[in-house]
């Protein structure tokens, strides 16, 4: 399965740090290491789910890949029709092209549409910017994307406050699709919606993916949502990737203790099964002063001596595409 996959994003050692300044002279006293050394390939047409607790750098990762945040270090190479180019070194024109190919759906549908503008204007603007000259052409595209998200074209005349959350999120998806992107980064697209609407939006997104052969980067903290959507899942903890695996493999056989803890937190709708839940002690450490060694060691139920001193490397080939960064699986060769 892994042979004929085409890579669309090649991410190497990506770091996004936010400096903390102090005093009148803006001396940098530390960094919030939101994304700290993420390396991974994203394949064309897949749905890569990104999960983790709050503050693990999931959203920052998405924004960095989209170049809404500038990476501090590392490379993000984008497949420009077979040719890999580093997005941090894009020229203005390349950036503009890139904006067309990679689009984003944001978490909060309530503020993602300009409240002062009619939906029509909000939809028209990106098309104008991206050089769709005539009004007839623009409206044709608008009708196409609206059909995809099941919204009647005459709703375009309304203002955002006249729509419900689910409708707004569908409108946001439609707007992102207007420029015919190849990659759609979804930053918790359903977390602001209630459960019945979540299913509706998720099904719609799956359908659209099949229809347009999109690549999804699906950021979420709801594990069941990710399980439903993703082909492959990346688990993040404190800005680092701890485990990457096919969705099925990850849910059946989680390897990293953090992943195990996360999965044990999924509620099971059956009062008779008393699932043993593994509760993590404490909170996510501050991304400013990360613990030495493995970032997870102070909460890990299987912590060893080596974990306190040495940061584990990513161990590949744990069957299929399964990768894990944990000393438990290094086969003792580090010890």
């Amino acid at each position: 399965m892994s042979e004929n996959k085409e890579v669309i994003f090649r991410i190497k050692n990506l770091k996004t740090w936010f400096p903390i300044t102090k005093g009148a002279f803006k001396k940098v006293v530390g960094n919030v290491k939101a994304v700290d050394g993420v390396g991974l390939d994203i394949y064309k047409g897949e749905t890569l789910g990104i999960v983790g607790e709050s503050g693990c750098g999931k959203s920052t990762f998405g924004k960095t890949v989209m170049m809404l945040e500038k990476p501090t270090d590392g490379q993000v190479e984008f497949n420009f029709g077979g040719e890999f180019k580093d997005i941090t070194k894009f020229t203005k024109d390349e950036m503009f092209e890139f904006r067309k190919k990679v689009q984003m759906v944001f978490q909060d549908p309530y503020s993602a549409l300009n409240p002062q503008k009619k939906i029509y204007t909000s939809f028209e603007e990106p098309l104008k910017v991206h050089g769709v000259k005539t009004e007839a052409e623009r409206e044709k595209i608008m009708q196409q994307v609206l059909k995809m998200v099941n919204i009647q074209p005459d709703y375009l005349m309304r203002y955002p406050h006249e729509f419900s959350g689910g409708q707004r999120q569908r409108l946001c998806i439609a707007r992102a699709l207007e420029v015919m992107p190849e990659v759609l980064i979804c930053d918790e697209p359903v977390s602001a919606l209630d459960v019945s609407i979540q299913a509706q939006v998720l099904n719609l997104m799956k359908y659209i993916q099949r229809d347009m052969k999109l690549t999804y980067l699906f950021i979420a903290h709801d594990l069941s949502v990710v399980q439903y959507m993703a082909d492959r899942i990346m688990v993040m903890y404190l800005g680092k990737v701890v485990e990457v695996a096919d969705s099925k493999a990850l849910y059946e056989k989680p390897m990293h203790p953090y992943t195990k803890a996360l999965l044990s937190a999924i509620p099971v709708p059956d009062i008779h099964t008393t699932k043993k839940r593994q509760i993590l002690e404490g909170e996510v450490p501050s991304p400013i002063n990360k613990p030495a060694g493995c970032a997870f060691h102070n909460r890990c139920p299987q912590c060893m001596e080596i974990c306190k001193t040495k940061d584990p490397d990513m161990i590949r080939d744990q069957g299929g595409e399964h990768m894990v960064a944990c000393h438990l699986y290094s086969g003792g060769k580090d010890q």
Binding site: R99, Q107, N114, P115, Y159
Partner: protein
């Protein structure tokens, strides 16, 4: 087929827009005080402009009728050198209203542009513009006017306009800057960035409409403020040259005690005109705030 639907989208669009406008107008009409303000402002402005166009004679002294009380040939009486007060109030209104409106609009435009730049980019640019605005704020307007009068060595309308605009943009600037700082974090701004829109387009096309209503409201109240400023400066003789009548200049004649005690009509009518106009403008501004403030909808 797609053409017919295309037309329908646009048409629907128009009807929706007009319905929102209608709703706002209805809301405004329900506010009696604001409606009163609007009517007074419109009547006074129209009267003054008509007076100017018709060319009422405001400057020729009628030597046979010095200090006539109101009534008869001179509706509002004549001033100390026999000029018709009614004509002067009308003519002066044009200048006063023009000064108020022009300065308020210009300072809002400057304040909005600088505020947008400052708030959207932040960082060093923001710091620089903030410091500049603080320097301007630190100068008393009166001293600046006196300085300019001394430098160009003549009193005139343009002096006043320049000074008012230069010293008047800071409040709008601060307000717009603060609004921009909070609005630039909104998701729709990020969406526009993700679409690769130009920064100027995001600033003035996307964010600015959301700041428009406080700007409009502050512009109306600024009109009142500048009219009062002009009156105050002209009263102490630093405003527009004496030959040009403004409401403040007419009042200037009432500086002497004998006029205040004996010829009440010389200062009551221009004073009334100023007060009424300023009051009406303030009512209008309040009403506009109620209608335009999205948070109250």
């Amino acid at each position: 087929m797609s053409d017919s639907t295309t037309v329908s989208i646009k048409n629907q669009n128009k009807s929706a827009a007009s319905s929102l406008l209608k709703k706002n107008i209805r809301k405004f009409m329900n506010n009696k005080l604001a409606l009163f303000g609007l009517i007074v402002v419109v009547i006074m402005t129209v009267a003054c402009v008509v007076g100017m166009i018709v060319g009422v004679d405001y400057n020729t002294p009628n030597l046979t009728a010095l200090k006539t009380p109101p009534g008869g040939e001179h509706i509002l009486g004549t001033d100390t050198i026999g000029r018709d007060l009614w004509a002067r109030v009308l003519y002066g209104g044009c200048y006063s209203i023009f000064i108020g409106v022009f300065c308020a609009v210009m300072s809002s435009v400057i304040g909005a542009i600088l505020g947008a730049i400052s708030g959207y980019f932040g960082g060093k640019i923001d710091q620089l513009i903030i410091r500049i605005s603080e320097i301007f704020q630190a100068f008393p307007q009166l001293v600046l006017v006196m300085m300019l009068v001394a430098i160009v060595n003549k009193r005139g309308l343009s002096n006043l306009l320049v000074i008012f605009v230069l010293t008047g943009w800071m409040t709008t600037f601060r307000m717009v800057r603060n609004e921009f700082m909070s609005l630039k974090g909104e998701t729709y701004v990020k969406v526009c960035e993700a679409f690769g829109m130009k920064k100027s387009r995001i600033m003035f096309n996307q964010i600015l409409p959301n700041v428009m209503s406080p700007i409009i409201v502050s512009t109306t109240t600024n009109v009142a403020f500048f009219i009062l400023q002009e009156a105050a400066l002209s009263f102490i003789g630093l405003g527009v040259a004496d030959s040009t009548p403004t409401w403040g200049n007419i009042l200037n004649a009432a500086k002497s005690v004998s006029v205040v005690t004996n010829q009440w009509w010389v200062w009551v009518f221009p004073g009334l005109a100023i007060s009424l106009f300023v009051l009406a403008i303030n009512f209008l501004g309040d009403g506009l705030r109620d209608v335009l403030d999205a948070k109250q909808q």
